[in-house]
């Protein structure tokens, strides 16, 4: 098996069969967009984690100061569980995003596995464009 230049390919699903140069150009654009999305999801997940950690720590420290100000001897289970619930939802959302990232990564691998050179260029170019656009956002807090 080797890389070929061809206008015919069947990508991933039965209905995605390409027969013409226009269809191939459209498929390359879709694969490019998928690669850009993959890179931006990677950056988005890191930023979401940072935001979630910051917000939950702020929330728990606020609740702790409220507790000490009120000088109550009641158990502090309620504010702790609120922070914990918020952290649970944040983490659950991140796990869903992780699943999407894993699936898109595998789809890109399978697209390259079609051994069509145009599709391969689309994946590479999309990864480059996605990295170029998304990674500067990582350092912006």
């Amino acid at each position: 098996m080797h890389f070929i230049f061809s206008d015919e390919v069947v990508l991933l699903f039965d209905f995605w069969s390409v027969h013409s140069p226009a269809g191939m150009a459209l498929s390359v654009l879709v694969v490019l967009f998928l690669a850009v999305l993959y890179e931006s999801i990677k950056v988005g997940k890191a930023k979401l984690l940072h935001q979630a950690v910051v917000s939950v720590s702020v929330l728990s420290s606020q609740q702790l100061t409220e507790e000490t100000d009120q000088d109550s001897s009641a158990s502090d289970s309620a504010p702790v569980s609120r922070a914990r619930l918020r952290w649970f939802f944040c983490h659950f959302g991140q796990s869903l995003i992780h699943v999407v990232q894993v699936v898109i990564g595998y789809f890109m691998m399978l697209a390259v596995m079609s051994y069509n050179t145009w599709i391969f260029f689309g994946v590479i170019l999309g990864s480059a464009v996605g990295y170029y656009l998304a990674y500067p956002l990582l350092s912006m807090v």
């Binding site: 069947v10 039965d14 796990s95 992780h98 596995m113």
Partner: protein
């Protein structure tokens, strides 16, 4: 949906992979691998030559095994990260004088964090790295069977593993960030 896993001739690996008609497609005669997603459990080869799935029960067992493998992969990643952080306790500071703007001498400090090459933590990291690489290739090959059930098992296992193991990791990251 048509069942793309057609009967494969027993000596399929002797046939040339490029047939006379060059068009690619799933479900064509002569192609031993499906190139599009399908849902089925008849005659599904999984990674090794002896592992063939023929019944729904075997597919359910394979689903669970692949799910656990993907979960283990995510856990291994998190475990390696935490091991690396724990073993990087040796921090070397190198200070060297550099000329300042007005002829003064400033001290520039470089901080290097690392492991020794022949230390046990580094050897352990290497062994775990090899295991991680092998498992990641196995998961890629499983996804490459294009079987819908197995692909869903990989994705769900990755998500569940991330959810279970990264929960603890995020807490550790929080604590260490506050300490600095």
């Amino acid at each position: 949906m048509a069942d793309n896993s057609t009967t494969v001739p027993p000596h399929h690996h002797h046939h040339p992979t490029t047939s006379a008609h060059h068009s690619h497609g799933g479900g064509m005669d002569g192609m031993m691998m499906s190139m599009t997603f399908y849902f089925g459990f008849k005659n599904v080869e999984l990674l090794f030559s002896g592992l063939v799935i023929n019944t729904a029960g075997e597919m359910a067992g394979a689903f669970v095994a692949v799910f656990l493998l993907a979960m283990f992969y995510e856990g291994l990643k998190i475990a390696r990260e935490s091991l690396l952080r724990k073993s990087q306790v040796s921090i070397r500071y190198n200070s060297m004088p550099v000329p300042g703007p007005n002829g003064t001498i400033l001290m520039e400090t470089h901080k290097t964090v690392g492991q020794q090459m022949l230390s046990f933590p580094h050897l352990l990291q290497t062994v775990l790295h090899i295991i991680q690489v092998v498992i990641s290739y196995f998961l890629m090959l499983i996804f490459m069977t294009y079987n819908g059930y197995l692909c869903i098992a990989v994705a769900a296992g990755a998500g569940t593993g991330y959810f279970l193991f990264s929960w603890k990791k995020a807490v550790v990251v929080d604590i260490t960030e506050h300490c600095h």
